[in-house]
Symmetry: C2
Subunit: 206 residues, 2 copies
């Protein structure tokens, strides 16, 4: 028996890029990934189920979790907390299961500090590519506008630098397939495979 830890995958990207849609579509397919459900203090919306869409908690409970260092990452949006409880992620990884987080860019940076070995996937809109091509190939915009667009594009690119992969969300199905490919190929990374072999062989020598 080889005791093999799972891999933590983090899907993030600029807001509005369609992270949630890609994640939902990925989990509709056959997958061994374990989805880590976020925790929030905002009230459930119609149809949302506690423990499925979110873990719905009071502000007091959430702040207690933070104080107890029970959150991998958290942030406040419009007066409510959102975050990822640590226990589920660690339990699943220890049990050898891959865990999948779909979170905002700020949260992803916090995860990176605690789980630098995680696999970070940055989802970008095809419009960034379009923008890039437009900026480069067309000379019709004023110089100021080109410059400010370039700046915006560059800020996106700066965020990329924290990630391992960049996936263009031009079509949901295509983006999902690419994420699946990343999961599959990460399992074949030599560091992981060789480590398991070596550990197994060393154990025998003792």
């Amino acid at each position: 028996m080889i005791d093999k830890k799972g891999i933590l995958f983090i899907l993030s990207g600029p807001s509005g890029v369609g992270k949630g849609t890609v994640r939902k579509s990925l989990f509709e397919k056959d997958t061994d990934l374990k989805y880590s459900i976020s925790m929030t203090t905002r009230p459930p919306r119609e149809g949302e189920v506690d423990g499925v869409d979110y873990f719905f908690k009071t502000k007091e409970d959430f702040e207690q979790m933070i104080a107890d260092k029970g959150m991998i990452e958290y942030a406040q949006y419009v007066g409510n907390y959102y975050g990822t409880p640590k226990a589920y992620v660690e339990e699943q990884l220890e049990a050898g299961n891959d865990v999948f987080l779909e979170i905002e860019v700020q949260g992803a940076l916090q995860v990176k500090e605690n789980f630098p070995e995680g696999v970070f996937v940055f989802l970008i809109p095809p419009s960034l590519e379009d923008l890039k091509n437009r900026i480069i190939n067309r000379g019709t915009e004023t110089e100021d506008l080109v410059h400010s667009r370039l700046q915006a594009a560059k800020e996106e690119i700066e965020m990329m630098d924290y990630y391992d992969y960049v996936v263009v969300n031009d079509q949901v199905d295509r983006a999902v397939q690419t994420v699946q490919s990343i999961v599959k190929s990460e399992h074949c990374k030599r560091e992981r495979v060789a480590f398991e072999y070596k550990k197994a062989l060393e154990r025998d020598e003792k």
Copy 2:
């Protein structure tokens, strides 16, 4: 227009593992990969076509290619030369096409020296895994035999260290799918994507 170089993929592994079968099956599917045909001085076997299976050359021509530094890698087996001509690989990479080599382990190490940025995939037989489990879980073998098997397994593992990915060839279709996943995910590596974006943006600023 972004000028984007192709990626060099190298499939290798212990002899007899089924590299050729995996490569053939991969190229029977729809792929954008360009297969780099090997060059040899051994005579064609029945049914083999020059420029399809191999480039068949005289010993003198092959040695001239070596002298002209026209080979990425080469080796001698049973009195014949086998190797990979440089020109095709470099032309295709420059044109933005991915190139695929299927070569012996010795050749792969030569390629690694000249193309460290290549993506190196090590194909292993499932029997190595079996062996490993057998070595560990069963105590029926003599200590000497366990030790010599461990040594053999370790020599395989040492070769792995030069590779980026390790793929178990338990089923050809499965191995092919894994190689396809590696090709796809390598194209999403942040270093590559970010580099292209940054290059495109810098070009515009000039």
